[in-house]
Each structure stands twice: as C-alpha cells, then as structure tokens.
C-alpha cells in the first residue's frame, strides 16, 4: 500500500436539532492509504454518510482534523485546496438526482473538462468525453453523448456520474450507497467497474453501504469498517471481518443477515440482542454505546467506560472491552 492519502484524527461531528445536540460522528481516527478500498458499513444513523461528507469536504468537522496527503483540509493554502478539491470526488446514491436533468450527457462530462482546462478545443473535449464513457463501459460512446439523463437506466446514470467524477483525475472516490438504488441484476457489473478504476488508475475508493455481503465482495483485498452510533466498532481486512468478526455488534449483524441460499440462511446460528430498541442519537448510552443491546454485556465496565479502538486478532482493530 502507498502513502497515507486521507487521515482522520479524532474526527467528531455534531448537529444542532431543535436546541439539542446530536453526535453523528464521535471521535473517529483512521488512515486510508493511496489506492485502498475501504468499506464503511453500518445501519442508518451510524454516521457513515456524515463521515463520507466530511472527507469530501461538504461538511466541516466539529472537532478533530482531516488530512489530505498530510495537509489539514481546513487550513490548506489555495493551491493545495484546489488539488484536494479535485482529488476527492463523490458518486451519490440516487441516480435520479445526481445528474442535471436539463443537460445532455456530453455537456455534463464536458463542463468540468473545459472549466479546469483539462482539454482544449471542442474536438479534444469530445474525444476525451468519448474516452471517459468507454472507461465506464458506456459503449459505443456516441450512443450516449446526445442523450438526456432521463433516457438512461439507473445503472447507466451511475456510470455517467463516475465518468463525471473521473474528468478531474481524482485520486479518491467516495461512493455513498452508490449501487443500492440500482437493479440487483446489474450491481455487480457496476462494482466491477469501480474495482477496475482502482486496479488500472490507482483510484482509492471509500464505499459506504449497509450491506455487509456487498462490502465483503467489493473490499475483498481492502478493509471493512463497521460503525455503530457514530463510532467505529471494528475495522480490519474485509475477509477477516466477515469470517472472524470480533466485536459483538459485528457478530450480531452477520448472524442477522439473510442470505440468498435457503439451506444456509435457514440453518444459520442467530445471536439474539438483549434489546430491540435502537437508542436515540439524542441520548446515547454511556460507556459503550452498544451495551444496552449487547449479547456479551459484561457489567459495569461496558456501562461506564467508552472502549477504545485497539489492536485485536486477525489484523483487525476492535473497540470492545471483552476483546483482548
């Protein structure tokens, strides 16, 4: 793995909602090396999307720092800021909202090329747009240049979004649930395309999803981070996190997931939660946020002390008092 591309140092983000403060992301530290695939997995409200938006620079941190190639993104100089701004791109979840409906595909992709002077002249721009469309498997590209977004399927639109992000030659792409609204039958081909960007161009990917099976497939040689109520519960090599989950929350999640195989899904060992109630972000439990539901609850220490993320087995880091 290469140099650290993105580093989060004790990043926290709070929101004020009706005179109350909620902590969406609470003290997250992690490093993403260049060209790595990291999947952030968790249920709604776990802070995965907020984390993604902070890395994208769309949200400021409330505390802590985010570094891009060693520079704090909040205090960068102009030139560095510009490099960061173009270096980190995003592919959104909703293929129906991520493309401007009144622009033709050609214009959508050509605009950033021309604005930043990546291409000079109409002919060169056109050539580059065709090249980018080919990269994202929209072939033959001439079939797509003059189309409007509504004339494309969800999967095709996501490909256009990726092509648009690639115009500025990013080193990192944040894909927030980028395939969850796409038809099941074509998700894998989209993920394969993301994988190719990594292999062929060295583009790192932060893939945010609620689907652990999808995360395992996509991260494969990369890492999976499991989030719960704003904190990282466990982070480690994708295969190991799924095969040898160590945090009780990860274990519960994995045991709860139904699988597309009747034999396996019906014989699976289930771990029961202590409580089905999801705590409100407004009143987070003290100590380990998972303790009121945790099947491995071990008394006082879980209630009082926030478990730090520390080295555990299988190359993972786990935030649980019970994991040695």
């Amino acid at each position: 793995m290469g140099e650290p591309l993105i580093t989060l140092e004790h990043v926290t983000r709070t929101f004020d909602v009706k005179r109350q403060t909620i902590k969406a992301v609470d003290d997250i530290s992690l490093t993403i090396p260049e060209g790595e695939v990291l999947c952030l997995v968790g249920e709604s409200g776990c802070g995965k999307t907020t984390t993604g938006k902070m890395i994208a620079g769309l949200l400021a941190t409330s505390a802590g720092r985010i570094l891009y190639r060693g520079q704090d993104i909040a205090t960068m100089n102009r030139a560095d800021r510009r490099r960061y701004r173009l270096g980190v791109q995003m592919v959104h979840q909703d293929p129906y909202a991520s493309l401007n409906p009144v622009q033709m595909i050609y214009n959508i992709i050509a605009a950033p090329l021309q604005h930043h002077g990546f291409t000079r002249g109409e002919a060169a721009t056109r050539e580059r747009v065709r090249e980018l469309l080919t990269t994202v498997d929209l072939t033959p590209p001439d079939d797509y240049l003059e189309k409007y977004p509504h004339q494309l399927s969800g999967g095709q639109r996501q490909r256009v979004s990726v092509a648009r992000a690639l115009t500025v030659r990013p080193s990192f792409i944040i894909a927030d649930e980028a395939v969850s609204m796409v038809d099941v039958s074509i998700r894998i081909s989209l993920l394969k395309m993301f994988g190719r960007l990594k292999d062929e161009m060295g583009v790192g990917v932060l893939f945010i999803t609620h689907d652990l099976a999808l995360a395992k497939y996509f991260a494969w040689e990369g890492r999976i981070g499991v989030m719960y109520l704003g904190r990282l519960a466990e982070i480690g090599p994708a295969q190991q996190v799924v095969a040898h989950p160590q945090h009780p929350y990860t274990q519960v999640l994995l045991s709860a997931i139904p699988e597309a195989d009747p034999d396996r899904t019906r014989s699976k060992q289930r771990i029961e939660l202590r409580s089905m109630d999801v705590p409100s972000l407004l009143r987070l439990p003290s100590g380990c946020a998972f303790h009121p539901r945790c099947p491995a609850f071990a008394g006082e220490i879980c209630e009082k002390v926030v478990p730090p993320l520390k080295k555990a087995g299988w190359g993972s880091d786990v935030a649980c008092h019970l994991v040695k």
């Binding site: 039958s185 081909s189 999808l214 799924v242 519960v252 994995l254 699988e259 009747p262 089905m276 999801v278």
Partner: protein, 344 residues
C-alpha cells in the same frame, strides 16, 4: 394443497404519455392454503402491480384487460366454503374482501398510519369500518384481540397501544401494520417489499415475526420483493417475475438449487452472499426492458446469452419441467450448463 387464490391470464395495462404500459401480461398462478409465496423481480417487472391487482387497488390509470382472480374461503376445518371472483366485486363486498379475506401492507407502509391517530384508534377504526366484533362487548373484545396481535408481532402492547405513530420506529410501525392487517383474520396477507428501507437488525426482527406468525395463525402469505435473500429465508415457493410475466415458479429449494430460467440463474449469481466467492458473481448484461416497447419473442432475449432465433421470434409459455416446477424458456434444458461457463 388446495389453492385459496387462483389467478388466471391476468393482464393489466397502464395508460401513459408515451403509450400503453403492459405491466402484467397474462399471468397465471395459485396461492395455496397456508403457504408463503415470494414474487421476486426487479423494479419495473410489474410485481407491485400484480399485488395491487389482487386487492383491486390499482391506480385510475390502470386497466385490467383480461383474466380472472378466484378466491376461495375455507372453513376452520379446512372445508371449502365459497368461491368469489375478485374482479367483479364492487363497493361493500370489495372493501370486505380487502380486509377480512385478503389484506395488503404496502411498501410505503411507514407513512401508512395516520399521524394524528393513536395506535388504538387505528385498530378501533378498522374494526368499526368493517363492523368487526360488533355487539355490546365490542370494545373490550376488540382491545383484547388487538393487544394480543400486537404482542404476537413482538410489540409491548402497554407501550404501543396509546402511542402515536411518530413515537414508534420504522420497524415498530411496520409491525403495527402487520398486526392491524391481521385484525379481521384474513386468509391471505400480501406484503409489498416488507423489509426494504429497514435496517438489518430490524429486517431480521420482521422476518422472525412473520415466521412466528405463520406457525401460530392460519394464513397464506404473498410477498413481493426484489430481495432474493428474503425469499430464501421465508418462502415455500418462489416465482420470478420479468417484464410482466412469471418466468419461473417452483419450490424454494428447487428454485435456488436447480433454477432453469436464465433470468433466475442470473439473479442468483448477481447477489453476493457472505460466503460466496468473488469469481462466482456476475451481472446480467443490459437492463430491464421498457414495458411500453417490449422486445419481440421472449422478453429476456436481449439480455440472454442463450438467445437464438426461436427466442427472438416466439415468446415461451410456462411449462412443467418437473413436478411443481414451471419454466418459461425455450432453452431451459441447457441454460444451466451454458451459463455456468458464462461470465460478464
């Protein structure tokens, strides 16, 4: 097992700006007593229209162009009592059918509860509208039954009964709706995407609740979903729907272990599981067809690696390939072998 619902040659169309949307094209299937049938399909396959068609809740732009839906009521001892043609039901009969015989919980269920009414009011209103448990002891009996149902779906009646919908989480509201739909003791429950948009642990809870209910109460279940794992977990039989038609139907184990339609095979290979290997997974090329301008012949042919001239020319009908397993494909015999070697 005897069917409680027999759908025959059902055809449903929508009027749209660009032309006629052929959402359901001559679909036939049975729902048997006490079984759970999963209708699996992607967006735009027509599976939701099919559900709405059964309970006659289609939007005004839709038209039932043909076919029949026969519903059979059975006595507690399992004797067939009477048959009803659903498509000819009107007004009061139709309303009665919708709750007392066949209830549907929608995909948008999370907004289906009236925000200004307490949960108890929802139960009271439903009972009143259908004159359920009328008589002097109506109030007490109704409360008892409602609270019993709420505990059946693993909700704490003391906590939920006087609550307003917004005080409950998405998963709790979903379970309230399931309890509410069972109030009038229907024989058939239709669930449209029952777990979509819910978190994993909540999904698990809903699935467990449904499994439990089926062992305790006597009703059939039809659920409509794009999620294969839900079908694997809950269904007795699975039907795959593509471009407004059922292309394969059979026992759940048969469908997952020995699928014959290239679309079903493709779908199963497109969904990653926690144990599947990276190389096993592959997408189906292309995208689902436009229901206004459908391709010729077999509607799956533009995406099918096995397609030949016959497929392009003529649409296959469902045929029995083994007992209880029906497939609509000209090349079902070699589909598995050919697709095994095929990668996208």
């Amino acid at each position: 097992m005897e069917p409680i619902l027999s759908v025959r040659d059902l055809t449903i169309e929508y009027a749209a700006r660009r032309g006629k949307v052929r959402a359901i094209r001559s679909v036939s299937f049975d729902v048997r007593r006490g079984e759970a049938l999963a209708l699996i399909g992607e967006s735009g396959s027509g599976k939701t229209t099919l559900g709405l068609g059964i309970v006659q809740l289609l939007p005004s732009t839709a038209r039932i162009a043909g076919g029949s839906i026969v519903y059979r009521r059975y006595s507690d001892t399992g004797q067939p009592m009477r048959e009803t043609e659903v498509l000819t039901l009107k007004d009061a009969d139709l309303r009665r059918f919708r709750w007392a015989e066949c209830a549907m919980v929608f995909q948008s269920a999370l907004n289906a509860l009236n925000p200004v009414l307490r949960i108890s009011d929802h139960f009271a209103d439903t009972a009143k509208a259908h004159r359920y448990l009328s008589g002097p002891r109506q109030g007490a009996a109704l409360t008892e039954r409602s609270r019993h149902l709420l505990s059946r779906v693993r909700l704490d009646p003391d906590r939920v009964w006087r609550a307003f919908p917004h005080e409950l989480s998405g998963g709790m509201r979903q379970r309230v709706l399931i309890a509410l739909s069972l109030l009038l003791e229907p024989q058939l429950l239709i669930l449209d995407e029952p777990t979509t948009a819910l978190d994993i642990l909540t999904q698990r809870n809903i699935m467990d609740v449904l499994k439990e209910l089926r062992t305790q109460l006597d009703f059939s279940l039809v659920f409509i979903s794009h999620d294969l794992s839900l079908a694997a977990e809950l269904a007795d039989r699975v039907a795959t729907v593509y471009a407004g038609k059922i292309v394969e139907i059979g026992e759940v184990y048969t469908i997952f272990r020995n699928p014959h339609h290239p679309y079903t095979i493709g779908l199963i290979k497109a969904v990653p599981t926690l144990t599947s290997d990276k190389s096993e997974l592959t997408s189906i090329p292309g995208s689902p067809p436009d229901l206004i301008e459908l391709p010729s012949g077999c509607k799956f042919h533009p995406r099918c690696p096995l397609a030949d001239d016959h497929c392009r020319r003529e649409e296959p009908e469902l045929i029995d390939v083994e007992s209880g397993h029906r497939v609509a494909c000209w090349r079902w015999q070699d589909a598995r072998a050919v697709l095994k070697a095929y990668q996208v």
